[in-house]
Symmetry: C2
Subunit: 214 residues, 2 copies
Amino acid sequence: MPDTRALVVDTALRLFRERGYEATTMRLVAAEAGLSVGNAYYYFPGKDALVQELYRRIQVEHRAAVADRLPRGGTLEQRLTGTWLAGLAVMAPYRSFGAGFVSRAIRPGEAASPFSDASSEARELAVHLLRDVVEGARPAVPGTVARELPELLWLAWLGVTVFWLNDPTPDAGRTRRLVTGAAPLIGRLVRLSRLPVLRTTVTDVLALVEDVRR
Amino acid sequence: MPDTRALVVDTALRLFRERGYEATTMRLVAAEAGLSVGNAYYYFPGKDALVQELYRRIQVEHRAAVADRLPRGGTLEQRLTGTWLAGLAVMAPYRSFGAGFVSRAIRPGEAASPFSDASSEARELAVHLLRDVVEGARPAVPGTVARELPELLWLAWLGVTVFWLNDPTPDAGRTRRLVTGAAPLIGRLVRLSRLPVLRTTVTDVLALVEDVRR
């Protein structure tokens, strides 16, 4: 029954927050949820699947956090600032979890890697949100740039996330400064990309990204 | 005596390459070097110190690999392409080590992190090499940009390194394409940074970097 599945997820995410990834075993999740270990495994084949559930849930909460704002328009920098600050707020309860977990997620071939096949659903949700940020911006983002920008912004967001996990300031003040400082610069660079003098370079940057991506 | 120290280092680096970080214990290093464990510890307080030795040695080899070329001038993109391709060649024997090790090096607060105090010597050597790349370039790189560029290039190089550790192509062909494609674009962006229309943006990007760095 679906309630049991939700109970397993809620319990696992709480344990991830409270005890970190390593200490959260399927056995502990089952015990804390008042289930047999076999019953917990019936819903999730292991911790990796629970991590994917965490990724997916963060995306769903991130989307919900900006759902009111995105249809209202605004410039690219306004939309990006709002969306990224909302993303930091959504991830905040998992900051200590992430600090320990990033070491696993960065390992090549790991299911928890944001680039893995297993992470494709969460990745697509994340890129799709950024596509909505880009496409609803006024003035409109030029076509060639608009096509590739969501994925570039997603890569930038991964960089912001790693920066945030290493940010020693209370309430991640430095990361918030990075976001509020970088979003207007990205907006300005996108506007400048229309200039003839920059157009070739922009095309070449996009072609290089296209060439080396998986 | 210094020969014993070199023996410990050589043995440890060989074991790092052959068996990876986790399996290389101080006990194993001592045994393979034909020393007592106490003697090995006399030269290095632990594996972290051997990792710093690896970092330092890679920097020294990287410098040696481009020592002939750098005084000969060339454009920024030529110098950067040559230096980065040489860097990939120097690191090549440690690629499988790095793939497992990056998960440790990325953990916040870890001595092996490229941003840690312990890594400051290797970091300074790396930034210094990139400063020589920038300062010897002809046409000369504009002053404001030249000051901050070496550190930005070092951050870019960390990104290239993570990309390289995840590169599934034989002989890291995709990473070589990334380097040979990105260096001319960096050169072109640096030239464009002189244009009045971009000057404010360049200044603002540099100010943001200055603001959020440690």
